[in-house]
């Protein structure tokens, strides 16, 4: 994001990866039938884990609340199929570690019976807080991948008097087309959802940014938005990572969000198109977030395309539906640039799962890393204007503070640097490693401080106890002496026995 960007139409940062979106993006949306068994993870969002409120054996309907939000930043979980709760146990998380996390298992009865919904009839005459409340109750989170609960973001936008809502239809990751499909198939939902969000935060305009490699989506959205002049469709140059909020804000409004500030503080708020559609469903139809459109793509897939699937479906079940040409060499949740590598396909899809990629051996091939030749390609590609080569060199020798001094914390892990690196250095993994280690060190420090407080509390307790003991002993002694003195008068002998 250099000085020259002010004069150039196309930003100087970013990369142009082969997008591989078609033919999957052009295949009509298919509806995935509810599978026999669904695993609803309790932590599908950033923030506190939801607390289960159902019991094993209980019958639930589709859309019924099964786990409620816990803490300020959290989201409730609803059943994505009607059936019986068969277990509250653990399932492998969609996470590179392959560690398990808690999930509620629902055995579907195949009927897909919805719970009675309670739509808001005239949302625009309702209080903005009502929209926020209902969005929170529907468990809507950011569907672009960050999975930050939508409602606290609305409240923040309202509090900071945000005037511009940016609707993110960038979807710059290669292979993915779920947002594209939402915009092509349900443009009215997206536009209405965007207007609801505007109402909730009190914004006066909405800018819908769509990359120009999705002409069908732009046309459909333009048609749907024609009646609403406050919603403006803005085609963007196809450039990765255009879908990242800071970059999108810069291109659409010219505002550069400072490193230490949130986007809302500069007067804009970004929401994904799928999130807007989910808000529409939550308000107009009263439906909680229990299903989403997900892209299944990659060389190992026989019929790639987009599926409308209930959350909690095992990835393996989705593969069985679309068919596999060969055993996938690599599985990725999300896009190839920023996605999460998965160890196997017995993992449920979550709210933030925009796509599942099954790569064949050719696509999955990662060349061996060579030495850094200091060509500087990574610095040119970095959308945050960082120096990836300097940071990686320091992390390599274990100098994490040195890397931090080069603004490691501003890295958005977009992967542009690793993509352009002629030596194929796994730069993002270096940064992820360093960020994790620095967070761990921070945690250790907090722990040490907590220990200190606990140790002091114990010392204070011991001191207090000793003092109380000493006081009690002194009191008893005084009483004994008083009793002894009283013993001279035989009338109080009985009382002495009681006090001793």
């Amino acid at each position: 994001m250099g000085f020259l960007d002010r004069f150039l139409k196309t930003p100087s940062w970013g990369v142009h990866p082969e997008d591989h979106k078609r033919p999957a993006a052009d295949v009509a949306l298919r509806i995935f039938p509810t599978p026999e068994r669904i695993f609803m993870p309790l932590n599908q969002h950033v923030g506190g884990m939801a607390r289960p409120i159902v019991m094993v054996g209980q019958k639930v309907l589709k859309g019924q609340l099964i786990a409620e939000a816990q803490g300020n930043i959290s989201a409730p979980i609803h059943a994505s199929a009607s059936g019986t709760i068969s277990a509250i146990g653990e399932v492998t998380a969609p996470h590179p570690s392959g560690l398990p996390f808690k999930a509620i298992t629902i055995d579907s009865d195949g009927a897909d019976r919805w719970i009675d919904t309670d739509p808001l009839v005239d949302p625009f005459s309702a209080a903005p807080e009502e929209i926020t409340k209902r969005t929170a109750a529907a468990g809507v989170v950011g569907l672009g991948g960050a999975t930050f609960p939508a409602a606290p973001k609305f409240a923040l936008g309202k509090r900071l008097k945000v005037k511009t809502l940016i609707v993110n239809g960038g979807e710059c990751e290669p292979y993915l087309s779920s947002d594209d499909r939402v915009m092509r198939d349900f443009p009215e939902m997206v536009i209405d959802g965007a207007r609801l969000v505007m109402h909730a935060i009190g914004a006066t305009e909405a800018l819908v940014g769509i990359e120009d490699n999705k002409p069908e989506a732009i046309a459909a959205m333009r048609k749907a938005a024609a009646a609403f002049p406050e919603v403006k469709i803005r085609p963007l140059p196809a450039l990765y990572p255009m879908g990242s909020d800071r970059q999108l804000i810069k291109v659409l409004t010219g505002i550069e969000v400072p490193s230490d500030a949130r986007a809302a503080e500069t007067g804009v708020l970004v929401h994904n198109v799928s999130t807007c559609a989910a808000v529409h469903k939550a308000i107009r139809l009263g439906q909680p977030l229990v299903e989403r459109i997900i892209t299944i793509n990659g060389g190992a897939i026989a019929n790639p395309g987009n599926l409308f699937a209930p959350l909690g479906t095992m990835i393996g079940d989705l593969f069985a539906f679309v068919g596999l040409k060969e055993a996938p060499s690599r599985l990725i949740l999300g896009g190839p640039m920023m996605g999460t590598p998965l160890l196997h396909d017995r993992i449920p899809i979550v709210k933030g799962a925009s796509g599942i990629l099954a790569f064949n051996a050719v696509e999955a091939h990662v060349p061996d890393a060579g030495p850094c030749i200091r060509c500087g390609s990574c610095t040119k590609a970095c959308p945050m204007g960082l120096l990836p080569l300097e940071m990686a060199a320091r992390i390599k020798v274990g100098d994490l503070e040195g890397a931090e001094a080069y603004a490691l914390q501003d890295c958005i892990s977009c992967g542009c640097c690793a993509y352009v690196c002629p030596s194929h250095i796994p730069l993002v993994q270096y940064f992820s490693h360093a960020k994790g280690e620095l967070t761990a060190a921070e945690r250790t420090k907090l722990r040490t401080d907590a220990t200190k407080r606990l140790a002091e509390a114990k010392a204070a307790r011991i001191e207090r106890e000793n003092r109380e003991k000493a006081e009690a002993a002194a009191r008893r002694k005084a009483e004994r002496e008083a009793a002894k003195a009283a013993a001279a008068t035989p009338a109080t002998t009985e009382k002495q026995g009681v006090s001793a």
């Binding site: 590179p96 560690l99 490693h433 994790g436 250790t444 220990t451 606990l454």
Partner: protein, 177 residues
């Protein structure tokens, strides 16, 4: 001869008295680094380093009598911080850092004697007489004082379990080292 001895002696005297005066004005009352070092130690006074408490350990560190790797509960992170503060180099690969650990009660053999509760520096063990005790994971510092006093070996140390929140990406393996 007399001249040379005399001049050297005079110079020695003059310079000595200058230094003597200087040492009075530039005297460092207390090693100020000691307080900073003490702040970096966990402060649980567990005594695993061999000193009575963290203040004594900090004093030994400031004097250079103790290695920066002296604090087992602090682990690698503390050793690194101390080394940076003291400006010494330390080979952390040799630090027997089994990772942060916490105590755990094997409930089948706990007899509820309350001894561990008394020695715990952070009150991380809960329980009552003849009741099974338990360790509050968040409060345990992994000092292992309780393990030493347990009469039935019901207490043991185990590494802090890795959770999704605690997992970090490994450092990429490099072919060019």
């Amino acid at each position: 001869m007399l001249m040379s001895v005399g001049s050297l002696a005079a110079m020695g005297l003059a310079l000595g008295s200058v230094l003597g005066v200087a040492s009075r004005y530039l005297a460092v009352e207390e090693n100020p680094i000691e307080a900073e070092l003490q702040a970096m130690l966990p402060g649980s006074q567990c005594g695993q380093c061999g000193y009575v408490g963290c203040a004594q350990a900090a004093a030994a560190l400031a004097k250079g009598e103790a290695p920066v790797t002296l604090c087992p509960p602090g682990g690698k992170a503390t050793a690194e911080a101390l080394a940076a503060k003291l400006g010494v180099k330390v080979d952390l690969s040799k630090v027997s850092d089994s990772g942060p650990q916490i105590a755990e009660v094997t409930e089948e053999i706990c007899i509820g004697c309350c001894r561990c509760m008394k020695v715990c520096p952070t009150d991380a063990i809960i329980g009552a007489a003849k009741q099974i005790h338990n360790v509050i994971r968040e409060a345990c510092t992994g000092c292992s004082s309780c393990v030493d006093v347990c009469p039935t070996e019901a207490l043991g140390m185990m590494p802090i379990p890795v959770t999704l929140q605690h997992w970090t990406w490994p450092k990429p393996a490099s072919a060019h080292n």
